[in-house]
């Protein structure tokens, strides 16, 4: 059984380790991997020739992860979700995974709120790109770099 003293000591050790790892990760932040040809093709296919606006789309991702197998990701647009003004689709694209298209989410007028949360895989340090398709043909884009210590296994 774990007594109080052992528990406290282990806690302190874990906290110190976390601090060390935090300091280390800042010191050697890796450069993002280059964009794959598949990403460029998938990005063009999603944009369909529209010039995207780099605003209004929130892409929530951790700055760095230990393990690329489970990376929490959220996409959100502040939209009234009415017939006149709504988000119809949200896309997640990876710039350096073996497959560029991670997910496409289709919303409806019953969505109420343009926000989706999931968990993704990242093979290596890279940029993740999110695209929102809005009513009236507007397209929003957001990019976030994620530092990956251990890549998602086998992706």
């Amino acid at each position: 059984m774990l007594d109080r003293r052992t528990f406290l000591l282990q806690g302190a050790a874990a906290a110190a380790l976390l601090l060390l790892m935090g300091a280390g990760s800042e010191a050697k932040a890796e450069a993002a991997a280059p964009e794959s040809a598949e990403f460029k093709a998938a990005f063009d296919a999603v944009l369909r020739g529209v010039t995207p606006l780099e605003q209004g789309l929130i892409l929530d991702l951790p700055e760095s992860v230990e393990n690329g197998d489970y990376v929490p990701v959220a996409l959100a647009v502040d939209s009234p979700m009415t017939a006149e003004d709504h988000v119809s689709a949200l896309h997640i694209l990876s710039t350096a995974n073996p497959r560029a298209s991670v997910a496409t989410f289709r919303l409806s007028l019953l969505s109420g709120k343009a926000r989706v949360t999931s968990r993704m895989r990242l093979a290596k340090t890279q940029e993740v790109v999110a695209v929102a398709e809005l009513s009236g043909g507007r397209v929003l884009v957001a990019r976030r770099k994620v530092d990956v210590k251990v890549g998602g296994c086998g992706i």
Partner: protein, 109 residues
């Protein structure tokens, strides 16, 4: 491969008509990418949940097309505006042709 365990679905216990609620779903699935090899060097075929759909009384609420970049045991959370009492139907489809359907009656206050 079918799901070893039924999906987990979380919605508020009681909802009001017109309320916007979050629907949280977690399926149990390996999400085999198709890029891995087994011990003898053969590619393990892709088996992922490629489609997820949510409908309310036959009306489409939300759908997702997933790739191998979605993590194992896919977690998807989305929002819906409750139009009134009724049943939310959630469907997961995988590469092996397995269809998993869950029906969630909404307790409208």
């Amino acid at each position: 491969m079918s799901m070893k365990k039924p999906p987990r679905i979380k919605i508020p216990a009681s909802v009001n008509t017109g309320e916007i609620i979050e629907v949280k779903t977690l399926a149990t699935h390996i999400m085999e990418t198709g890029n891995r090899k087994d011990a003898s060097g053969h590619v393990i075929p892709r088996n992922i949940i490629h489609t997820f759909r949510a409908t309310f009384e036959g009306q489409e609420v939300f759908s997702a097309t997933l790739g191998s970049g979605i993590a194992a045991n896919p977690y998807i959370a989305f929002f819906m505006r409750v139009p009134g009492p009724g049943t939310l139907t959630l469907t997961w489809l995988d590469d092996e042709g397995t269809t998993t359907v869950e029906k969630v009656p909404l307790q409208v206050a």
